[in-house]
Symmetry: C2
Subunit: 461 residues, 2 copies
Amino acid sequence: EPPGPSIVTSEIPGPKSRELKKQLGEIQNSDAVQFFVDYNKSRGNYICDVDGNTFLDVFNQISSMPLGYNHPALLKAIQDPNNLATFANRPALGALPPVDFVESLHTALLSVAPPGLKQLLTMACGSCSNENAYKAVCMWYMKGKRDGREPNEEELKSVMINKTPGCPQLAFLSFMGGFHGRTFGTLSTTHTKPLHKLDIPAFDWPVAHFPKYKYPLENHVRENSEEDEKCLAEVEDLIEQGSRNGKPIVGLVVEPIQAEGGDNHASDEFFRNLRKITTKKGVAFIVDEVQTGGGPTGKFWAHEHWNLDNPPDIVTFSKKMLTGGFYHKEEFRPKEAYRIYNTWLGDPAKLILLKEVIKVVKKEDLLTNIATAGSQLLKGLQQFEQKHSHLIFNARGRGTFCALDFVDAAARDRALKALHMKGIHCGGCGSKSLRIRTALTFQVSHVNIFLDRLSQVLNEG
Amino acid sequence: EPPGPSIVTSEIPGPKSRELKKQLGEIQNSDAVQFFVDYNKSRGNYICDVDGNTFLDVFNQISSMPLGYNHPALLKAIQDPNNLATFANRPALGALPPVDFVESLHTALLSVAPPGLKQLLTMACGSCSNENAYKAVCMWYMKGKRDGREPNEEELKSVMINKTPGCPQLAFLSFMGGFHGRTFGTLSTTHTKPLHKLDIPAFDWPVAHFPKYKYPLENHVRENSEEDEKCLAEVEDLIEQGSRNGKPIVGLVVEPIQAEGGDNHASDEFFRNLRKITTKKGVAFIVDEVQTGGGPTGKFWAHEHWNLDNPPDIVTFSKKMLTGGFYHKEEFRPKEAYRIYNTWLGDPAKLILLKEVIKVVKKEDLLTNIATAGSQLLKGLQQFEQKHSHLIFNARGRGTFCALDFVDAAARDRALKALHMKGIHCGGCGSKSLRIRTALTFQVSHVNIFLDRLSQVLNEG
Ligand code: FES
């Protein structure tokens, strides 16, 4: 790992990145490209661009790099001749799994399963993890409704032409500010920015408000707890409306921290009550840990912070887990073959890498590392927000999964740009938040570099 | 590659596979598992199971292995130290592409682009390729409707709660028997088996009938061409109904050969007319080449057999292409960043492998190989259907992408089982079809082995 960031061009993206971006623009819209990366040269917490710049990476490919770049354990696994066939031959996992598949599921995924969940399906990305979790919920609900009866003629015929009763009008409840993917099903539960959804047909599914807190939390306990109650009452209300309208809400999906939506947090108490309401109403409780899962909050799963009596019904994952998938309670297991199915159902090559990640996380106790580094980081952010209260506020976070808000989007974007020029690669989220998404190997020494550069930017801005 | 198949257990799956299947069954439904595979030992057109059996593979992981197992060119690419970082660091491609990304798109994907299509997006599987193709069509249609006007307040507000006008009621037309994926959007265009769709909410999108031909084709020219016309008239009719109902059909999606639905073929003339109707009506013409693309029909893209004047608007791919994605005309390129977007947008590690595949296909002229092997194969199947006309019929195919029908599902399933015991791993599709899906390296010598074993099965059955 390099000793620190180093910027050699006078603009980011530099000339080589700009040229490549132009070339890519001839094939596809390349407006979202930040720079082109030299992945060979990138190491640990440092990402190197094609123009010779080295950035401390506190964004990590939208939070999807568990151990940073080119971790030796991963390089070794890829070069291990025993793993060669796994990289060369991607199987149709549901039909022809490899000899070590059961063992891989145990080592890579069940060894870190959320408390209480022992059933598991692998998928290939966050969107299909959520899409298939929703499908499992629909099947569970309708199985309950049929109560042992086989599907009848009318159901089997209508389903082929997208009609009720075979395709029932079931609904999922999601939160304003939530992000669960961009395929048609998950997009109907995503409510981040209009441009994510505009022009795309949606299921007419309801949306509840997610708590909006006043910070610092300790000074607004009463208001924030009233906010929780208002939002919980709305959830109950929408569930009851759904039953009355004949569009029953069969599942509720929520992120432990609304990430794309602006790093919106809610209290552990709020989530415990959500779990209680869903249990009471017979609604499946789906926790989307695509961005929070895998350690960045200081626990392997962010929902472990809540101390639930009754685990979530389904926990979905992807990103830092390298493979997609979901854990679920026994009741959500489809009875028939081929009901939750697709060609690949994930990729054992990603399981090989995940196995190594889990080994390193355990051996090096990276969850403790993240808790320590995270508390230093948050303390620093809180000091800054006191000093620069005209510019930034709402410093918040768990582990290194931290964020702060700027007065407006323009100020946030200026800060991101200024950080770039000081060798920090960071990301935005929501309308005016800066979000920090580190690898699990991010240490106090990295925190110090980050805080130093951020303070320079804030002092200048 | 082994000299031929070899079966050493008295049952398939053998004892080791059965034990592993039981163990997997404790974690997830494992009923669809056929056997557990030793991917280290499998070679070329031969797949080896954990019990020591070796099968000639004419199914190839649901048609997703372009060069068979452990092809030396792929093994070499995985071991190449220059590629190590690509396997170790999966980027967020839309934001931080690798230095060689433009070059990879050119070498791996544009060098085999369907005639007339020069724009391209990568995705990670067939479902998200189709989901995002549909989204690109919706954006294209609404951009046209807004005719330069910026989205208004009402659109930007309603879209956040899944309502019109922001989420407009646009529809896609698909065919009975078509399969385009199992996520919520694509599932509304999939019409194969009731269990694929049962219990899952669907968009109320229409379905047209796909031609059903009488075989052998040369004896039923008039009936089959009448069948074409009936189906085309229905398509026009449904498009007109959509406009009248305020649920305009904005795209039509079709497979060149309906694969999961039973290997249903339609004439080149039928597809040319579909293209004409969609052009006339302003409906996007999406050709789903997820299963047919990449060479198995003897052309790189199956729709090249049609000799269209006007290319499809969108061609989607996955499986044999190792990466998902879609090619499209310039008009379907989203104008704004982040509209067609997700974390990974594919995987450059798959592009490395695809580059090698394309090199081998070109160097060894594997398309010609498939055309030659395929014509031998189809000739053989046609001879069998004459000899066993009480049992099998409708032998059909293009390249080695061949199929035949049995009198019923039970007879088909018995044949698949008997073939297994003779060392042939083959698949079913539709209700009573046997489908052949070879690697591109399948040669006349393999055809002869397959036909020999099939003839034994037919003679016994
Ligand atoms: S939808 Fe997840 S990989 Fe395609």
